[in-house]
């Protein structure tokens, strides 16, 4: 969406719009209502840990805690760095070079987002080991088979492959917004390509990369399905194990409490380092000249992109199809999948709508009336997002039982939990859109006689619509894939596709699991298309 503005470079030094005094009370009221569900589980978890006494760890020793902390930290660090590198590389190769089919590559590289990491892990398992697809293929040509993909390396690979696309999606528009004049100036001063990359390009991409990295590291912290299937011990896996294997919620709550702190630290660190991210709407007046790749570098680039697409997209899909086909040919029943699909789509749709609505007052508050209080509000929404979904589910479960039993095991509670967990996705999108719109358009409307509400209706919302749509699509996609909180909070008998995949794979019904997984992937392609079409083909 082009924003009407004078050519870049001629803007004078006008100060940023001054604080518009107090925001209307109604706005604050709406924002608080939106934030309460996010705040409730955090408050409860902290309170229950405090109440039980910090000493009552439920049999979890300090040594074990340290062990979990280290194993989780290592995975988070490894995946964050890997995805940052991968995502930036793919973004760069598909926007700044002269490789053929750049648009196609960019789309292909984003597609892995339709594959939830636990489905990817499932495919990894189905590909490796003595009964795996790759093993069979390799053995057919006389090569040794693959060992079972499990443990740290597998978890690292799985979480990197199915998360780097987040970084790619954020890096592409950031690269497009860069002014090539800066790089040209550097090159003119004698800086080599690589040096320019590190000293000029990457610093400009820093806000986008930091946002992407935070998303990824929080996701890894929260991941439950993949690390369980691949058998790597992280905090989340331990929390679930404690929940499954003990007769008391306390140890699970305690671990969740620790995890909350870790997640909050991450969020705080990112906020600090982001500083004043300047989200300018204008595009550079002159497109940069593409980097020409020839010979070995060109081949390497193609090879790199192909490997990623094969590993993250083609191989898992092929494995799933193979499993499904083989299972059905052996006469295994596929079982129940369509009702799960309908439930997944309806609950994801409802969650997306509610989340977007909740994000609007929050976005207006945090962008147009920024201040310490609004920043605190924003931190709360990010905190719930950063909590492992298992912990959030646990918190809501106990909260509901204790205070609002009528909500227990209802779809309504499930949606409230989704909103609490994924509000930041819609919020960020709305914030970016709002910043692009800029306050002067709203002021123009007010100067022309439209009050605040009329301005919102006639000007802000219509212009914000694409961002809201993107935010909603992202929430839809994420809720479709969500597993742990759904497992805990779902009404009895309300299985979503994600739950069906999980229970099918734990019961070793790989036929059903793969069919359900393929359906999930296919349906997820729709919101992904909405997201990608907007961001990439800008």
């Amino acid at each position: 969406m082009t924003v009407v503005a004078p050519p870049r470079g001629t803007r004078t030094e006008r100060k940023p719009s001054p604080v518009r005094g107090r925001a209307p009370v109604a706005l604050w009221a709406m924002a608080l209502v939106a934030v309460v569900p996010a705040f409730a589980p955090i408050a409860y978890l902290v309170w229950s840990v405090v109440r039980a006494g910090v000493t009552d760890t439920g049999g979890i020793s300090a040594g074990r805690l340290l062990e979990l902390f280290l194993s989780t930290a290592v995975l988070v660090a490894a995946v964050t760095i890997t995805t940052a590198v991968l995502g930036t590389a793919t973004a760069w190769l598909t926007t700044r070079t002269d490789l053929g089919g750049r648009g196609l590559w960019s789309t292909l590289v984003t597609l892995p987002l339709v594959i939830p990491s636990y489905v990817g892990a499932l495919a990894m398992l189905g590909t490796s080991g003595n009964s795996g697809l790759m093993t069979e293929a390799l053995r057919a040509v006389g090569l040794p088979g693959l060992p079972v993909f499990a443990g740290f390396w597998a978890a690292w690979g799985a979480l990197s492959l199915w998360n780097f696309s987040f970084v790619h999606l954020l890096a592409v528009p950031a690269i497009r917004r860069m002014d090539p004049a800066l790089e040209e100036a550097a090159r003119g001063l004698g800086s080599s390509r690589w040096r320019t990359m590190f000293t000029i390009v990457l610093p400009q991409l820093r806000p986008a990369l930091l946002s992407g990295s935070l998303l990824v590291s929080l996701y890894v912290l929260s991941d439950f399905g993949a690390v369980s299937l691949l058998r790597y011990e992280t905090f989340t896996r331990a929390i679930y194990a404690q929940f499954r294997g003990r007769l008391d919620v306390t140890p699970a709550l305690f671990l969740s409490g620790v995890l909350v702190i870790v997640a909050l630290v991450l969020v705080w660190a990112e906020q600090r380092s982001r500083g004043r991210a300047n989200l300018s709407a204008a595009h550079p007046t002159r497109p940069p000249s593409p980097v020409h790749l020839r010979g070995i570098p060109r081949l390497t680039a193609y090879g790199f992109l192909s490997t990623i697409v094969i590993g993250a997209l083609i191989l898992p899909l092929v494995t799933l199809v193979w499993w499904a086909a083989r299972g059905m040919s052996l006469g295994n029943t596929v079982g129940s999948v369509i009702p799960e699909l309908i439930r997944s789509v309806s609950v994801s749709g409802m969650a997306a709508v509610v989340t977007v609505l909740a994000a609007i007052p929050l976005a207006i508050l945090t962008v147009r009336h920024a201040g310490r209080a609004t920043r605190a509000l924003e931190s709360i929404t990010w905190s719930a997002y950063s909590l492992p979904h298992l912990a959030v589910g646990l918190g809501f479960l106990v909260l509901a039982l204790r205070f609002v039993p009528a909500l227990y095991q209802t779809v309504l509670l499930l949606i409230i939990a989704y909103v609490a967990m994924f509000l930041p996705q819609a919020l960020t999108s709305a914030q970016i859109g709002l910043r692009q719109i800029g306050p002067s358009i709203e002021e123009a409307s007010r100067g022309l006689g439209s009050g605040a509400l009329a301005t919102l209706r006639r000007i802000t919302l219509p212009l914000l619509w694409p961002s809201l749509l993107a935010g909603g699509a992202l929430v839809f996609l994420t809720v479709m894939k969500e597993l742990p909180a759904t497992l805990l909070l779902r009404p009895t008998g309300f299985e979503t596709l994600a739950v069906r995949i999980w229970s099918a794979s734990s019961e070793l019904f790989y036929t059903q699991a793969s069919v359900a997984a393929l359906v999930l992937v296919a349906v997820s392609a729709v919101p992904l298309y909405v997201l990608v079409a907007r961001d990439l083909h800008d």
Partner: protein
């Protein structure tokens, strides 16, 4: 673009409405919907809100630690015969037990069918189960039910060590569970420490051998690099595929695999008499005290012990518990299994210590 989204949104809304109707276990989340939100009703006496679902009676809620594929056919037959709808929630036994404990009096569950005696015993110990009618408890040998009549065994299973016959020689197979703590088994076997059967097995060990020995064993296992799984099925799969040499599981998994795949290079090994590894345990079912439909609940349990159901379990290689129901094909009779004499009722007492020990050993 706007139009496409509007159409999609309409589809989603339609799906939401139809999805709720088509699903017999519907919940729309509205507080007036009584289907699964029994809590409001259980805390007020007798008042039952008007039914808004299609079923003629309120559905029975079953918390099942047994697999869906295992249970679903039986439930469907039950509904067909009695007309009583059943909403089943499938999850790990421990998880369900914890859930019931957390739900307390507000639990929507009517029946709890656990995979093992220890967790359901723990629930019974908290007073959350009512006493079963005597006609039910009379159906089953007293060895396989709660001494206080709060739960009754539906089927039984033996603990075994499944191993890959290509990778493990006959004489290598461990004679006792203690051998698994020895160096030759380092990194070669799998366990599922959160699984109900494993927990029950540890409670049995505690009863027979005491805390010190049990702790020593658990720590020995943990130090011997076991491969940790979430459930028994994946262990057996790995063994069959040759990715794992052996593992501690229940007897019927391998039999199901063989039925599915034909011959496989794997076998079950029963430990000897007196070895905790040969513990035979019952899967227990009980009626929640907070249930507002104890009669219907009893009907369900009765049905689980009826001949057709027990035959169904038999076909899936579990040991049925009613008289004269038979023995799974190719397996030793129940009476002939190695004996590890512990009272299943007593395992409820050692549940907490077992869980703590498992956690402290680092296995969980």
């Amino acid at each position: 673009m706007k139009r496409i989204v509007a159409i999609l949104a309409a589809i989603v809304m339609l799906a939401a409405c139809s999805g709720d109707d088509a699903d017999e276990t519907t919940t729309t989340g509205a507080p007036s919907d009584p289907t699964t939100t029994a809590p409001a009703e259980t805390t007020t006496t007798e008042a039952e809100a008007p039914d808004t679902t299609e079923a003629s009676a309120e559905a029975l809620v079953l918390y099942s630690g047994r697999n869906e594929s295992f249970v679903e056919p039986v439930i469907e037959a039950f509904t067909a015969e009695t007309g009583i709808e059943v909403d089943a929630r499938f999850a790990g036994t421990g998880e369900l037990a914890t859930t019931i404990l957390t739900e307390g009096d507000d639990t929507p569950a009517d029946v709890f069918w656990a995979q093992d005696p220890a967790f359901i015993g723990g629930i019974a110990k908290e007073g959350l189960l009512t006493e079963l009618p005597s006609d039910i408890t009379d159906l089953v040998d007293e060895r396989f039910q709660d001494a206080n009549g709060h739960w009754v065994g539906i089927t039984a299973r033996g603990r075994v060590f499944v191993y890959n016959t290509d990778l493990v020689a006959e004489d290598e197979v461990p004679a006792t569970v203690w051998e698994l703590t020895e160096p030759q088994w380092n990194g070669r076997f799998g366990v599922a420490p959160t699984n109900g059967s494993f927990v029950a097995f540890v409670t049995g060990m505690l009863l027979a051998e005491g805390e010190d020995a049990t702790r020593e064993w658990l720590e020995g296992i943990a130090a011997n690099n076991p491969v940790i799984f979430e459930g028994n099925g994946p262990i057996v799969d790995a063994v069959v595929a040759g990715d794992l040499d052996g593992g501690l599981v229940n007897h019927y998994y391998l039999l199901q695999r063989i039925a599915e795949l034909g011959e496989v290079p794997a076998a079950n090994h029963f430990f000897g008499d007196g070895d905790p590894g040969s513990m035979v345990m019952a899967t227990g079912a009980g009626i929640l005290a907070a249930s507002d439909q104890p009669d219907a609940a009893a009907e369900l349990i009765r049905y689980l012990l009826a001949a057709e159901s027990q035959e169904h379990f038999l076909s899936l290689f579990e040991y049925p518990l009613i008289e004269g129901a038979g023995t799974p094909e190719g397996q030793p009779a129940l009476a002939d299994l190695p004996v590890f004499d512990v009272s299943l009722t007593d395992t409820a007492d050692t549940l907490e210590p077992a869980l703590t020990l498992i956690s402290e050993s680092g296995l969980n």
